[in-house]
Amino acid sequence: MTGSLDLYRAMLRIRLVEEEIAARYAEQEMRCPVHLSIGQEAVAAGVCAALRRDDQMVSTHRCHAHYLAKGGDLKAMLAEIYGKAAGCCGGRGGSMHLFDHDAGLLLSLPIVASGLPIAAGVALSFAQEGSARVAVGFCGDGSIEEGVFHETLNLAAVHRLPVLFVLENNLYSCYTGLGDRQPARPFTDLARGYAMPVETADGNDVHAVRAATGRAVGRARAGQGPTLLVFDTYRWREHCGPNYDNDAGYRTEAEFLDWKARCPLARLRAELVRDGALDEAAELAMLNAITAEIEEAFAFARAAPFPEADTVAEHVHA
């Protein structure tokens, strides 16, 4: 059972990896789109803390945090973003296709909501095998506008599949706010159309996220079917790329600062310090360990060889 310190380490690791990607992106060696998760770390860490390694998740274009929180290999992730042969996709997918099947991040897909029925299908395979594993499908607030989100919830509900749909609401789809895309109503009402249990929590409170996920996982393992989980959070940087874009005109600096003040890491850190679970020395040690790992991983990814050009036509068919 993951302790608060482990949760903090997981979130800090995600934050530092993403910030290093942002810092190095201008070098133009990571030549693919990157959708950073900075600000949304608590959802990834909290959800994964409630899962077993052999549970399988399907993620989206914004998959870095999910991949890392589930235990995905950091070197394989960075090598992929650098387009190298050692990348998890051998350089064929880039940042939006991260996966580490062994760690339980089965798949990430760049098409909005496209991974949701696949997550339900993974759950179907668990049900058919009589295993107690659960599947998780991540989606953003934009994903629920795609018809396939609804087809999937209905399919999962009618077949009582062991799958969790994790709705990460960060208020925007690219540069368009919720109000321009959906009527105002609680997201929890979406679940009623499928007679599906729903859990909702502050997406920046990792404990709340873990607890809500734990309840859903319990139901799924007990054969009680799917759950919709709704977590409100916020993307700090631009939709795609390393920069801040509060000046772009679609959202305000004030809104950003308001959410930044509710930083999921700062929140847990304060608690750890208050409880004496984290002192300066321990924090420094943690920071150094993570930084060392990240530096080593970047060094590996940058030095790693590119795939051989003549392998490009391989693996079209199994």
């Binding site: 399988q56 399907v58 996709c89 051998g90 064929r92 997918g93 296709h97 996966f99 099947h101 089965l106 798949l107 897909l109 098409i111 496209s114 949701l116 029925p117 696949i118 997550a119 339900a120 299908g121 993974v122 759950a123 179907l124 395979s125 668990f126 058919q128 599947a135 018809g147 396939v148 087809e151 999937t152 209905n154 399919l155 009618v158 077949h159 391989e314 693996h315 079209v316 068919h317 199994a318």
Partner: protein, 360 residues
């Protein structure tokens, strides 16, 4: 030796599915109506009773959703077979099929596999109309990562479906509704017909006729009549549109010097275009006359039979095209053609003709 077992293609497909489900517990069937009384034109009849509702899953009306469901299960090692009662409905599932099923093995650098079979049926006859009659085989055939097969005869249909279910890749099987009625001798038990390209169905030296699906049956009927007129047509079943293999066709055209392609779908941008282009690239010099393509014209399918007279290529239009191609005057085919025309005229054109049901 025992009487050969004559089955319809529909029965052959049912038998193939049942056999694979008995051999491999990972195989399951999913779709709208797979367990209902009509059982997808009989092709899934009895499977729910024999294997249970968990392995013959009725689905909501959600083509895109249950296609994704099948892909996820397939990635985890299950072997789903999904069915669409019309190709027209499958249009809703192309994002899953093209972006995911077709690409996951490639983008995962060979780690993921999607052993999925997607059956879809081409409607024809009884006033089906524009959105219940599309074939669209080159739409699927142009996507790398998929395999695309169009069964035409019973023995092959069974073997092709078994091969598809046992294949580790996503396979799209496009079944023409009228092919379901075609009969032929079908071996008992397990065998496969590999999904590896065209198959010479009838040998002849005067003209090479390449056809798929129901048009193969029309072509075979035409070849018989042409033979009566002393014209020897070699008939090739393209069968597998992807992976595309031209060699047997090129080889045949090198001998006949004449190529006639008959598409089940549209002529424009159809499989015939790829066949002609591939042949001229490799055997331009062998061509004694410009290749000819038949196929559906460039408009939707009207419902009224009064408008369908010239819509579908027929044995007669194939005969005429082949005769012209070999430079035979109308006089030469006139007799046998007239006899066939008379036989065909006994049945309305919006139902399948008994003499096209084989046995093949």
């Amino acid at each position: 030796m025992p009487e050969p077992r004559i089955l319809t293609v529909a029965e052959a497909l049912r038998e193939a599915t049942d056999l694979c489900m008995r051999r491999d517990p990972r195989v399951f069937v999913m779709g709208e109506g797979v367990a209902d009384p009509k059982a997808i034109f009989g092709t899934t009849a009895g499977l729910a009773a024999a294997h249970g509702a968990a392995r013959v899953m009725e689905t909501p009306i959600a083509e895109n959703g249950f296609t994704g469901l099948a892909i996820g299960a397939a990635m985890m090692g299950r072997r789903p077979l999904i069915v669409h009662q019309r190709v027209d409905f499958a249009l809703l599932s192309l994002e899953q099929l093209f972006n995911n099923a077709a690409k996951l093995h490639y983008v995962s650098n060979g780690r993921h596999r999607v052993p999925l079979v997607v059956r879809m049926i081409v409607g024809r006859g009884w006033g089906q109309g524009p959105a219940h009659s599309q074939s669209l085989e080159t739409l699927f055939a142009q996507v790398p990562g998929l395999k695309v097969v169009l069964p035409a005869t019973a023995r092959e249909a069974k073997g092709q479906l078994i091969a598809a279910i046992e294949d580790d890749n996503p396979v799209v099987m496009i079944e023409h509704r009228w092919v379901h009625y075609a009969t032929g001798a079908v071996p008992e038990g397990h065998y496969t017909v590999p999904l590896d390209g065209p198959r010479v169905v009838r040998e002849g030296g005067d003209v090479t006729i390449v056809a798929t699906s129901y048009m193969l049956l029309e072509a075979l009927r035409a070849a018989e009549t042409l033979a009566q007129a002393g014209i020897a047509a070699e008939v090739i079943d393209l069968a597998v549109l992807r992976p595309f293999v031209a060699d047997p066709i090129v080889e045949s055209v090198r001998r006949t010097g004449r190529l006639l392609c008959v598409d089940t779908g549209f002529r424009r941008y159809g499989a015939g275009a790829e066949i002609v282009a591939s042949v001229v690239e490799q055997a331009l010099g062998a061509l004694k006359a410009p290749p000819v393509r038949l196929g559906l014209p460039e408009h939707p399918t009207p419902s009224s039979r009064a408008l369908l007279g010239g819509f579908y290529p027929t044995a007669l239009s194939i005969i005429d095209a082949a005769a012209t191609l070999v430079g035979a005057g109308p006089a030469r085919v006139e007799g046998p053609r007239a006899a066939l025309a008379a036989a065909l005229a006994t049945v309305p054109m919006d139902v399948p003709h008994p003499t096209f049901r084989g046995p093949f």
